[in-house]
Symmetry: C2
Subunit: 127 residues, 2 copies
DNA sequence: CTGGATCCAGACGGATACTG
DNA sequence: CAGTATCCGTCTGGATCCAG
């Protein structure tokens, strides 16, 4: 395992090594999904949909498939009538809790300052 | 501080309170920009552009304006010829370091497991 | 109940060229 | 040097309907 070489021959040096993780975790719905499953434990599809409020079943399925593929969520199918499917966080998913805790702490401590800065901003308006 | 009410009358309960922060921090380029400024300190526009590699000036300007508006980055303009502009992280931006540290730790410890799960996945292929 | 199939809209970002 | 101005492609996500 001696990757002791000081010289990397990679043409495109990795600017920011957390970017792959960011792509994994933070899109419109993945964060709320992980957050909800983390807090509520195992949930059925419909129950999850209800708690997320405005998500559509199509999008919920897409995001759940992605999270399942990436090993963060486990899907369990029960061949009953009517069918039942339950989702829960995996151990790998649970390992994210320090990340979410850090985000929650920062949100509590500093989000108001952001809102204040935003309303005080006088420069060229973005977006 | 007695928010002891068990009943919340809010129609749209906040599903995930970190979502506003997520919107603030994690888009295609905001994370690399903050990461770079955090590690390298004060940088000129062109230098930042060079370090980010493939970003275009238009997008870099857009993201920097947004970060400036939100109080995470400070822009300093020097009316010289040729003009010089320098960017740096604000104290509010620096307060994000625990968040990025948690993300970096998780990336080092668990990203390989994600890649392994992904390659082992046999279900319906998303994306 | 749990989705899959379609179609669609808007946002974000990339490419290129130009300017104070 | 540090952006702006245009144009355009892609991708996520929303709406709706349908099916096992």
């Amino acid at each position: 395992m001696d990757s002791t070489d000081a010289i990397t021959v990679v043409d495109a040096p990795v600017v920011c090594r957390i970017s792959p993780t960011v792509d994994l975790l933070f899109s419109r719905w993945t964060t709320p999904i992980l957050w909800t499953l983390h807090r509520s434990g195992r949930l059925r599809f419909g129950e999850l949909e209800r708690r997320l409020g405005t998500i559509t079943p199509k999008v919920l399925t897409e995001r759940l498939r992605q999270l399942e593929r990436d090993g963060l969520v486990r899907r369990q199918y029960f061949p009953e009538v009517p069918p039942r499917v339950e989702y829960e966080i995996t151990d790998l998913g649970e390992s994210l809790s320090p990340v979410f805790a850090a985000l929650a702490d920062w949100t509590d401590d500093h989000l108001p300052a952001v809102e204040q800065a935003r309303s005080a901003y006088n420069g060229p308006l973005p977006r």
